[in-house]
């Protein structure tokens, strides 16, 4: 079924990804304020129309904090689209952006269609009549652009794979429909157990694709990795070891690295931008304090962080400060605990304290390089799991595709559940058709005519 833009509140990222430190997410529609307020530490209202307001945004009402943001409410009709708009400026980190958009979708917003903000602006009379043609062009151009994008190798292969899968869904949907529309024809019906097996297999295959989303995004945008730890634990040594180059200055004096240092690495085939940071500790030194501040900022935009401890010693107060930072950030960033300097000794107490965090832990020596291989594997696995990194791998890179896949899986699993509850074919068909509709958002619509064509093409129908 084709959809028309409606008056539903819509959300989308309105700045291009990777174009700056700040990303702007736009929420437009009659419920904009009602949707976002429960997520904010400070509600927007009459007092702050058009005023930039600092707030924390969380995953759901009363849920975990995602980020500190600046929100601005433009009350309709005095806004770009003529509707209520809330603009959210957040850190330009894909995890954060995703988390905020997902939270708003959970609240009831819908992801905007290409050109939809402009369309609304036009429909609300915000764009001059003479520009109607231009508005139409934008809708057309955006669609063409996304068409063009989907021709790209990665997505092209994704849609090929999805066509295969949707072919299989069409297969068993057709069998159900034969059962309904041609039940007198004496065509052998599919046992329910087999249908269930096929549905769950499809859902599993789609889930595998969905699992590539993070990897796909990393491929597109690269991975940000931060090395954290108190001074002198060997962070710079670790960077140099990973880089196989003396990039950062190493010395026995704590506080050697004052500002952050970046280096591009290849870790098991993944492009990683690693950042060596100033050690984290309580400090009186102003310059070093600024360094610590920036270290924490770095963490906000990181996909993964290596938390370095001295594995040969007991933990001290500064180490515990880092532990607290890990606890505060672990929802938004992957962590790997590195126990360095284990060439000197291994402190059992330290290991005992760090193990229960439930974060992957690697013991190594940044000096000799022993254990570096294990660390690389661990980094890759934390980021993308067991995926192999052949260039032919099919990956999901767009949030829209991710959403469509997730909805497809949900519909299929719902069908399977109904099946186990003894629902009959026409009921199962509701969900399987819904699954086809969601898949169709990526591969193109499947109409009831297509289902019939498939039936007539493959089964001996007709008296």
């Amino acid at each position: 079924m084709k959809h028309l833009p409606d008056s539903h509140t819509i959300v989308a990222l309105s700045t291009p990804l990777g174009s700056g430190a700040i990303a702007i997410i736009r929420l437009s529609g009659p419920d904009a304020l009602d949707l976002i307020n429960p997520l904010l530490s400070k509600s927007l209202g009459e007092d702050n129309i058009r005023l930039a307001t600092f707030a924390e945004i969380c995953e759901g009402p009363g849920g975990k904090t995602i980020d500190q943001v600046v929100v601005t409410w433009f009350q309709g009709p005095r806004s770009y689209t003529g509707e209520d708009i809330v603009e959210i400026s957040c850190h330009c980190n894909t995890l954060i952006i995703d988390a905020i958009i997902s939270a708003l979708v959970r609240q009831g917003a819908r992801i905007a269609e290409p050109g939809e903000f402009t369309l609304r602006a036009f429909l609300k009379g915000k764009i001059d009549l003479s520009q109607a043609e231009a508005v139409a062009d934008i809708i057309n151009a955006r669609t063409r652009q996304s068409l063009h994008q989907s021709m790209r190798h990665l997505e092209g292969r994704l849609s090929e794979r999805l066509k295969e899968i949707s072919g299989e869904v069409l297969n068993y949907l057709s069998l159900l429909e034969i059962n309904l529309d041609f039940s007198e024809e004496g065509i052998e019906v599919m046992p329910m157990a087999e249908l269930s097996r096929r549905i769950t297999r499809t859902a599993g295959q789609l889930q595998e694709l969905l699992n590539t989303y993070d990897y796909g995004r990393y491929l597109q945008e690269g991975i940000q990795m931060t090395i954290l730890g108190k001074p002198n634990v060997g962070k710079s040594s670790l960077l140099n070891q990973l880089l196989q180059k003396e990039r950062a200055i190493v010395s026995e004096i704590p506080g050697t690295t004052r500002d952050y240092i970046e280096a591009n690495l290849d870790i098991e085939g993944l492009a990683v931008k690693a950042v060596d940071t100033a050690g984290i500790r309580k400090t009186e030194d102003r310059i070093e304090a600024i360094g610590v501040e920036r270290t924490l900022q770095q963490l906000d935009s990181a996909d993964i962080a290596l938390a370095v401890f001295e594995g040969n010693r007991e933990l001290d107060g500064d180490d515990r400060a880092l532990l607290q930072i890990i606890r505060d950030h672990r929802e938004l960033c992957q962590f790997v605990v590195v126990l360095n300097k284990t060439d000197i000794a291994r402190n059992v107490e330290t290991e005992k304290t760090l193990q229960p965090l439930g974060i992957p832990l690697v013991a190594l020596s940044a000096k000799s390089g022993e254990g570096i291989g294990a660390l690389k594997k661990c980094i890759k696995e934390s980021l993308i799991g067991e995926q192999s990194l052949e260039s032919e791998e099919i990956v999901v890179t767009s949030a829209r595709h991710k959403k469509a896949l997730a909805q497809t899986i949900e519909a299929l699993l719902h069908a399977d559940q109904s099946l186990h509850e003894g629902a009959s074919d026409e009921i199962l068909a509701v969900d399987i058709r819904l699954a086809m509709d969601h898949l169709g958002e990526i591969t193109g619509e499947t109409t009831s005519e297509d289902v019939l064509n498939h039936i007539f093409g493959n089964f001996c129908i007709g008296k």
């Binding site: 079924m1 001059d128 041609f182 039940s183 007198e184 509850e421 074919d425 026409e426 001996c460």
Partner: protein, 631 residues
């Protein structure tokens, strides 16, 4: 000749409904048909209803049509199909006593007030200022009239094929209608050619009934019409048998003399109704095909060999049919044949079935590219109703896809490219769960009553049923069942018991338990008689509540899209940013609203959005620039 408000050309299933509807709406109507004696003849299968088609018949009936009543009076084998599935896809079907059906239909036509039957053939539509003025008959007579409804079935340039022999004919033994197609082409209509087929009929005494499986009718039979009493007529069995390898060899031995395979037939046939030779060629790995033996009445020796449609030569038909064990002595009374005929692709009509080119000219039935009695009757009824409403100066009756299969049918006809004869299937109805055969009255009777085709009593009894349903619904919503009341039933049904008081509406969701069983557990209802139809209705809405709500949400969304009306004068060719294909389709079909535009095959999603921009543009330039007014 005398003036008529409406001239209906054709006396088939579409023509019958159209003529009865207009005459009952008070319009002076003439039915023009080649032979009065063949009005209501079942030219193909002697059955009414079937999957999805049964829904159509119930809807025709709820709107005040005749088909359900005729079959109730003349059916000899009633059966509700798909009873192993959920109630939404149950569908009534009945074998008719073919001759009785025809005579019953004729009786209704001949005794109808305001309706005259004229023997003849309409060969021309006379128009003035783009509107109907008169109907021209082949013998030169002219009937001045205001509306014409064309329901010519397969008669337009009909050509029957048996093997390599063919002859101009609309139906075995009857002449074809010539000239009308050419006249319509002159008026600017586009035409195409379709094909359909029919199997041989054999003598009932030549069947070996020891070698066939019997199919029993439902007992008691359930009538189609909401206004019919119990079915009294004696019932008959149908029978099933199968083809075998020898049959297939016999058929293949004549394939070089098949009009299909030798390329003589150019019309497109329906893929859901292939000939037996087609099935054997296309599905060579199947070692047998099902054959239904359908008697055509008690006093009629003919048996319809359903599943054995063929246009092979006579000798092959006979040879092949006699390879079936039970039919080894089969005596063919009438040969199977293929028929090719003209149709007018249905993008040329509006949702009222009125043609876009000529005002007050309506098409209904096979002329629009459909197949099937029920599809034809549904269109005939709607064309008749709309011709009548228009003459009465009233708003048209257009059913949407969420209201009725009839809505789906007509909407598909006007928006889809029809490449083969169109038949209804339940899978075409996206809101299938809402469109049950047994709630057709609740969905539609109010409209039929408003048109004037439903008598007051029938309407009142529907309202009473509706009220009873609502009351029961309210009562069960308040009913709670205790473990002591429920658990004995649970044990009997081998389902889990309950440990605390549970709302009845929750328990009814369990597939293994019926509402009636639950009512028997609840002291409030235990001894109360509630009409089983009411119980069924309430059971359905409660059992499937979650799914129904979801369908309803989709319906709401769909209706929202129907609200944006597209101005009649919109020039799609001016919309440069729209794809050429979309522009062409939209120009051809001229949808009434955005929802319809979105359903047209070949129109892109983004182009629908662009269309929205242009509608707004048109609206604003008509009213002045809104953006400047509101700032």
């Amino acid at each position: 000749m005398n003036y008529y408000d409406v001239v209906v050309a054709g006396g088939g299933h579409a023509g019958i409904e159209a003529a009865l509807a207009t005459s009952r709406m008070g319009l002076k109507t003439a039915m023009v048909t080649l032979k009065k004696e063949t009005i209501g003849k079942m030219s193909c299968n002697p059955a009414i209803g079937g999957l999805a088609k049964g829904h159509l018949v119930r809807e025709i009936d709820a709107l005040g049509g005749e088909m359900g009543k005729i079959i109730d009076a003349t059916g000899i084998h009633f059966k509700i199909l798909n009873q192993s599935k959920g109630p939404a896809v149950w569908s009534p079907r009945a074998q008719a006593d073919r001759l009785a059906y025809m005579h019953d239909a004729q009786h209704r036509i001949f005794t109808q007030e305001n309706l005259d039957v004229i023997a003849g053939s309409v060969t021309g539509v006379e128009s003035e200022n783009g509107a109907v003025k008169a109907a021209q008959l082949s013998d030169g007579r002219i009937i001045p009239c205001r509306s014409i409804i064309l329901t010519c079935g397969t008669f337009l340039n009909g050509c029957i094929h048996v093997g390599l022999n063919n002859m101009a004919s609309g139906r075995a033994g009857e002449e074809a209608a010539k000239g009308l197609t050419e006249n319509l082409i002159d008026l600017g209509f586009k035409t195409g050619r379709l094909k359909t087929g029919t199997p041989p009929r054999i003598h009932i005494d030549s069947i070996d009934f020891d070698l066939v499986e019997a199919q029993l009718p439902d007992d008691p039979p359930v009538p189609f019409s909401f206004q019919s009493g119990p079915i009294e007529r004696r019932q008959m069995n149908c029978y099933i048998t199968y083809t075998n390898q020898k049959t297939h060899e016999a058929l293949l031995s004549g394939i070089d003399r098949s009009p299909m395979y030798s390329g003589i037939i150019t019309g497109v046939g329906p893929r859901y109704c292939p000939s037996i030779e087609d099935k054997v060629v296309r599905f060579a790995d199947k070692d047998r095909h099902q054959i239904f033996l359908e008697p055509e009445g008690f006093d009629n020796p003919e048996v319809y060999v359903n599943g054995f449609s063929t246009s092979l030569p006579a000798d092959i038909q006979e040879k092949a049919i006699r390879t079936v064990d039970a039919l080894r002595n089969a005596e063919i009374l009438r040969l199977g044949y293929a028929v090719e005929y003209d149709f007018f692709p249905s993008y040329q009509i509006n949702a009222t079935l009125e043609t876009k080119l000529v005002e007050n000219l309506y098409f209904a039935g096979q002329i629009c590219g459909t197949s099937g009695y029920e599809e034809a009757a549904a269109q005939g009824l709607m064309a008749g109703i709309n011709a009548g409403l228009k003459q009465q100066g009233r708003a048209p009756l257009i059913l949407d896809r969420s209201e009725a299969y009839i809505g789906v049918l007509i909407d598909d006809l006007i928006n889809k490219t029809i490449l083969e004869p169109y038949r209804m299937f339940t899978s075409r109805a996206e809101f299938r769960l809402l469109l049950r055969h047994d709630n057709a009255d609740l969905r539609l009777m109010k409209k039929g009553f408003a048109v004037g085709l439903i008598p007051e009593v029938a309407y009142q009894s529907m309202l009473a049923r509706k009220a009873e349903t609502e009351t029961l619904n309210k009562r069960i919503a308040k009913t709670v069942i205790t473990p002591a009341q429920f658990n004995p039933l649970a044990e009997e049904k081998e389902t889990s018991g309950i440990s605390q008081n549970t709302p009845l509406t929750k328990l009814v969701k369990r597939p293994e338990i019926t509402l009636r069983e639950l009512l028997n557990c609840a002291p409030d209802f235990q001894d109360e008689h509630v009409d089983p139809n009411t119980v069924a209705e309430v059971e359905f809405t409660n059992k499937y509540a979650g799914f129904l709500d979801r369908q309803q949400a989709l319906v709401d969304k769909f209706k929202e899209m129907e609200k944006t009306v597209i101005p009649d004068n919109l020039d799609y060719q001016n919309i440069a940013s729209m794809s050429a294909e979309s522009r062409e389709k939209l120009t051809q079909i001229r949808p009434r609203n955005l929802g319809q535009a979105a359903r047209i095959s070949g129109v892109r999603q983004s182009d629908v959005t662009i269309l929205m921009v242009y509608i707004e543009k048109g609206r604003r330039s008509g009213k002045g620039d809104v953006s400047r007014e509101t700032g």
